[in-house]
Symmetry: C2
Subunit: 497 residues, 2 copies
Amino acid sequence: MLTDTISEKAKERILSPEMLDLVMSAEEAASMIKSGMTLCTSGFGTGYPKAIPTSLATTKHATDLTLINGAARGEMHLGALATSGVLKKFSGFLYNENARNVVNAGDMQFADYHLGQLSTKIKNGVYGEIDYAIVECCKIKEDGSLVPTLSAGISESIVKYAERILIELNLNVPAEVDGFHDFGVDPYTIIQSPSDRLGVPYIKIDPSKVAGIVITDIPDTDLFYPDIAPIYNQIAGNVVLMLDKEIEQGRIPEQFTFQSGMGVVANCVMLGLMNKGYKGLKMYTEVLSDQALYAIKEGIIEEATTTALDITPLFFDDVFNNLEFYKKHLVLRPVDLTNGVAQIVANELVSMNTAWEADIYGNVNSSHAMGTQMINGLGGSNDFSRNSKISVFTTPSTAKRGLISCIVPMVPHVDSTEHDVDIIATEWGYADLRGKSPKERATAIIENCAHPDYRQQLRDYFDGAVALCGPCQTPHDLSKALSWHQKYLETGSMQQD
Amino acid sequence: MLTDTISEKAKERILSPEMLDLVMSAEEAASMIKSGMTLCTSGFGTGYPKAIPTSLATTKHATDLTLINGAARGEMHLGALATSGVLKKFSGFLYNENARNVVNAGDMQFADYHLGQLSTKIKNGVYGEIDYAIVECCKIKEDGSLVPTLSAGISESIVKYAERILIELNLNVPAEVDGFHDFGVDPYTIIQSPSDRLGVPYIKIDPSKVAGIVITDIPDTDLFYPDIAPIYNQIAGNVVLMLDKEIEQGRIPEQFTFQSGMGVVANCVMLGLMNKGYKGLKMYTEVLSDQALYAIKEGIIEEATTTALDITPLFFDDVFNNLEFYKKHLVLRPVDLTNGVAQIVANELVSMNTAWEADIYGNVNSSHAMGTQMINGLGGSNDFSRNSKISVFTTPSTAKRGLISCIVPMVPHVDSTEHDVDIIATEWGYADLRGKSPKERATAIIENCAHPDYRQQLRDYFDGAVALCGPCQTPHDLSKALSWHQKYLETGSMQQD
């Protein structure tokens, strides 16, 4: 592309003269990608490349691609690529309904890893050579350094380990985002305080690896939160009760540091904390939602670390209009650091994540429906549950209008083991599993978390298991342990006749 | 006890004059412990208190006790206490046959946690107040500081968090062990090199907390290694083949750093490395065996970190006779550091641990027979598998003369999830699971690891699961997933008719 066809607005954001010569169309950029290649893309919630993936999905000239991505939800990215059939394999957080359907149809292999380890796996050669990193940014500095849009994710790692780099410069995100991020920090560095800035606000790259730059002007518009059903407020209320008690008993400070997963319960907990008058909390988290931004504005959260703003269009405007305010309270870091085991341990987090289901001994399934169908992937849930000071999982006690119990005898897929789950909360209450043996946990979970309609059924299972194999460490009747799921598959209900 | 009844040999090791007044009999010390109290003891493999636990087990004056201990195997410790019936609950690594039987009979609750987190759980109040720490040492310094015997474990934490301290001064271990340990190091410190010493070789205590000192002269004599069956050398051979390939392909350096769990396979791997001419390796591990000591002497291992010498009587003499040599190459650290997630990640370990069984999707059971009966506890296996650069699990492909397949459709208990297992090795070969989807893993595990007698049976299960629920993320037939275990329970064999 001739330099004089580049808009003035774009030129203002490409401060490296050599880089101007690399501006090209999305189609030109996409055409460099050949069948069988391995691609890594930026984006976590938001901030994923949009034009090149859309072109790849449209032309389908390159097939059998492997894609590694942090947690980009985008339809113009993972969704389009997966449904077009050009992807052989995906690794990262699967957070897109169309892509999920492709996985469950067996048309795309999915290697699901802890998000905090994704960069390390790339570095360690788990995916072999990375042909292209494709990253979205809002500004290119004099030396070619990149200012990403509103996520950090694995971007810093992928430009380092990829052979070549393709850039999407998205004019839809203001260049003044510059200053929001913190890169160039050794992954073993302990972040003493969530808003500490220890590195530089841009990603250094080797400019000779840049193969093309595509100018875009596309908003991130994928996220809409569902309406809040009363049950979620009840679950959140129980979590807040637990937090109150921990503070009262001196096990966590009044200004504790917490992580909160995606989803509606997380937002309700935030509301619950507001209503209880909590102030000056710290957040050290993987993704940050609308409600958390609001909590920062209100002083409920004093400072926060996240790898991604996973927010709705309304809040994009709020961020863009209040950039300097948010930069003071909020730092966007690589997911290696937000989900880094050392940082999670050192910050003594209270972590709150969503369980798909939990069993009576405290094992949690975060990813598989009926043990077989992928829902969303593991994400960072076990980064936090495995390493936090207090690891909380929330779930409604039932699903499908009561036909499924989310407290079951045995989960058919385990993402966080019994050793990593401290608290389970449902709308009925919470079970504190800390220091308990499996048998003690069973009582706590059945009596505090299970739906009353399922409690006797669970007690019967537990008693039957003890009768069968004795009061051993973890009583189970293996002929019935998965029978609740089997019954649901056969009859559409877990309820006993 | 009057000071003049203390032997000269003991007096030479109690350099604090005030402490001399606290010397008493084991019975006197034990009598301070009352029913319902919570005790923490030193010891990891070796180095556990012996006289006070024996007295507690004999008099049974105090019951309903809770015991927290790193990983002491001793019959004069956990074994005696558990069988005497005075323990209500135990937490730590369960590594004693008698104690295991008490747990599986339902007579003692067992809360099984990652060993790397045990100190943090004590600090966080998971076990409530700690009434007494009972620690074995070989020397008491002028200011009351303790030089432990041949383990470090959780000793530094328990003297810090317990209300009172009881000391067993064991004259059977030479005072010249002084200088072997490294304490006083912040738990987030990255150990750059396994033999680095960053702290002090003794445990600082608050002398006013010491309630009594008991003089003992009792050797650690519990450990005997079983004879090495040829199958273990075959498994180890496959692990070494894998390591050769990793080095050849540049994914690990020639002088890689490794962790090796307890047991016979670990020893065989060490032998295999010797026979292949490996030199100058680094070990960063939880426990160190006879064979590893031999490897240090031979230069195969240049330097090592461990929290415990878990060695046989023969090698105790070797250590005592060559203390200065071993101090140069080997450091004993708290288990918080040997098993610390930050240190494991930073040292880019190859970890090798024993699986009880693995399933076709790569989930590993380390702790439960048939999903119900406790075997040995989780130990540190998941500290390492979750955080190592390459996480290896080894198991013979079958047990009970072929009647049990150690590769099964679904493990009935998960200690390391599919996300944490990179390599599974049996006597038939190894499966490299890195970057693979569950379906790809199934093929790799069945064809490389399963016993040939069970391969068709496993293929049939997998094919049947795909036929039933489609080629989804993790195909399972829930009506048959645990049927192999159920069949074994009913007929004594997993083999199909």
